[in-house]
Symmetry: C3
């Protein structure tokens, strides 16, 4: 496909020569018949052997790009991905109902829904239009999944929550009568597990993105457009505000609240509420500024202790 | 169903008016035709709009409950859950053998066993009566599962342990000839993995509850009625005593012992044996008291260092 | 099977009496008709009731082994495992294509490949000879798996990477056009997830062993013969050198490099590059020596603070 055709399809400004492009590749690998993209000056040294480049407008006049065929974009990685799709680099898909699929007579399947091989969908589950349920994913009875969601392979939605009561020396399981509600445009990673509520709903807000192997316990309420990175664990009844970001392996104890727009660092343990907009880090989660001051102090501690002991010894003599 | 009928079915004392109830709901959501439960005084302010309430006997005479229809229970959450089941809020189930199920001619299936769609059960596996194996769960050959167990979706029982020996510069895998033995009344969470022993058995004691995404390595021995919360990792050959509690994301290095009744806090790293009955916390696990004292000291460390440096400077002048 | 036959089949030196052996068992359980193995002096006290023992040559002349039938081995655990296989303790296997398997007409299956029940293999996937893909494992389109690999149950290879760009207030997903390349002799644990690259390949080097529930993000490059223990999380674009060892629950932030032969301790957070050959530990990863010095200082900190405060008070008076 010619660069001018890509520009037209993507609605982007085209500068320089028009040439045919075979595919999209990253800047360090792309060659003469390929399109790549850059987002910062430091990558410009590598564009010389590349056919054409998607760039933001503030880089378009840099000397390294003189005579280089360009597409001008507000978000080069996104438009490069769109170009790759137009160039046929997308995933292959199957369409129709496979003869070995087991579908209840009473089941109704929405428009554009994709259900992968081996996925299991329980009774009275509702799945919105254009949602993809990948291979091996299990959705327990009565859960509700919005439109345009993606549930990646082997994720589990709606398992019984982990709730027990001690009763005459035994752990009696508490039945969880609630469900899971996943709103529109949510992505759920491979191997992620989201438990159903005791009553009511465990809720994942619209537009939230959840990575692989995340655990979300019963009755958790997650806001809109949150980012929850791999291996995060969110205990029962936590509340996560809109736009919050939880980095990899962070953990929340039950009933904690993370305010809207807050950021929780990687491997951070959250045992108290995180204020809206705050950045929280540390094994024992606290503000990032305090964590860094204490970490810096701790690193100097062995030498500091020696200095102080020497000083005290000298003063005592 | 009328409150008096629920009282009779559950064997509970009934006080106040008899009224028809549609369902069970949590105290903050329940309305006039619903049953809820409370376990502490702080919830009593919210019972006014609720039809009837399950309460412990020591709350039954509180003024907020005057004239309120009550069920008196030793464990209100449990009896509320039982009431919800009687009111038809339970999960739906399929009964029989689905025509697409693949069952070996030699297989014998016990009474009341439930096997979910896509579950895979290897050769010579034994499964006790009334055990549920949920969708997508895989049990490797020769493992033994007790009665009344629940293995939630996509869990994996009996995979080869992660054991290697260096041999002429290569990592040679060591075949694990042992199995996994899961005793009666054990629950295993979604996505949890339990590896088979090198010889003998990886053992999970009766009544133990294991949450989602827990990793239990080869040859681990877990006692009776333990609680193991989500994303805990237990390395090879660890021993966990009866009634121990491991909170979320805790990790144990190989060959450590956690004594009976001990409690290991969330995200705690256990590198040395934990005494019976102890509470252990900290990135580098130690007694909770020591952890808290050190944490408190660390938080004061930056200011303390400044004070001491100023003092030394002044004394030197 | 007689000990002399085992010796001949395994190519090992045989000393002492020749006796028939039923099976292999660990040293603390083995009896008169069984073979066991020892690798260190401390186990010799337990060999008395055992039929025969596999030992390294430097233990063969110890007094506890006088008159004991022996096999002399350079790697006793490995040869004991081989003996167990000869004695019929191996796993059972199914051979052929099950009538309910769904295989595309265009699919070609290599020699000795094992595909477990419920495993899902996408379009244009390449699987090398003698590779085992266990039950419930999902391989997305276009990934490449080498020869003699083992992918344990419910692992997921080639899911879309977790990459988003903010664009007009929305999180726009970035399509990942790359794949996953798993080289020869790699083991992947149950529930482990390995995401596909944005472009190019997420690569796992030959001979690397990966435990259960490990997360490997898009574009990660892992060298040859690495050991990656359970619940490790490796963020996008990290590079792991040949022979590196990452212990359980370690976590790496995006774009970090772990040098060849480096060792990262359990639960270590890696936020900066780890030099080749180094040992790195700590919540905030650093050299093990520094971590231990700081940990030791932190443990003394509460008492130290009191001593210094008393001293300052006294000097001020």
């Amino acid at each position: 496909m010619k660069l001018s055709e890509l520009a037209q399809s993507l609605g982007l400004e085209h500068r320089g020569a028009d040439l045919p492009l075979a595919s999209v590749a990253p800047v360090e690998e792309a060659g003469l018949d390929q399109l790549s993209f850059v987002t910062a000056k430091k990558w410009l040294a590598q564009v010389e052997p590349i056919g054409a480049v998607v760039v933001p407008s503030d880089l378009a006049d840099e000397p390294e790009l003189a005579d280089k065929p360009l597409l001008i974009s507000r978000c080069p990685p996104l438009d490069a991905a769109r170009a790759a799709r137009l160039l046929g680099q997308a995933h292959l898909t199957f369409s129709g109902i496979h003869p070995t699929a087991v579908v209840a007579e009473s089941a109704q399947i929405g428009a554009g829904v994709v259900i992968g091989a081996g996925a299991v969908i329980g009774a009275e589950v509702v799945v919105g239009d254009q949602t993809e349920i990948h291979a091996g994913t299990v959705i327990y009875d009565r859960c509700e999944i919005g439109s345009r969601c993606i549930l990646k392979a082997n994720s589990v939605i709606g398992g019984e929550g982990f709730g027990y009561e001690f009763m005459e020396g035994r752990l009696e399981p508490i039945t969880h009568f609630g469900t899971v509600l996943i709103e529109d445009d949510v992505h759920v990673g491979s191997g992620t597990t989201i438990d159903r509520a005791r009553f009511g709903e465990t809720r994942i807000g619209a537009g939230t993105r959840i990575d692989n192997q995340v655990q979300i316990a019963h009755n958790v309420q997650i806001g809109r457009c949150c980012i929850i990175v791999s291996q995060v664990g969110i205990a029962g009844s936590c509340i996560i505000g809109d736009g919050a970001v939880l980095a990899g392996q962070a953990g929340l104890v039950p009933h904690t609240t993370v305010g809207a727009g807050a950021r929780v660092g990687a491997s951070t343990g959250v045992a108290t509420d995180v204020p809206a907009g705050a950045t929280w880090t540390g094994w024992w989660g606290q503000s990032h500024r305090e964590s860094m001051m204490q970490l810096s102090a701790m690193r100097k501690l062995p030498a500091f202790m020696k200095t102080v002991r020497d000083f005290m010894k000298q003063k005592k003599e």
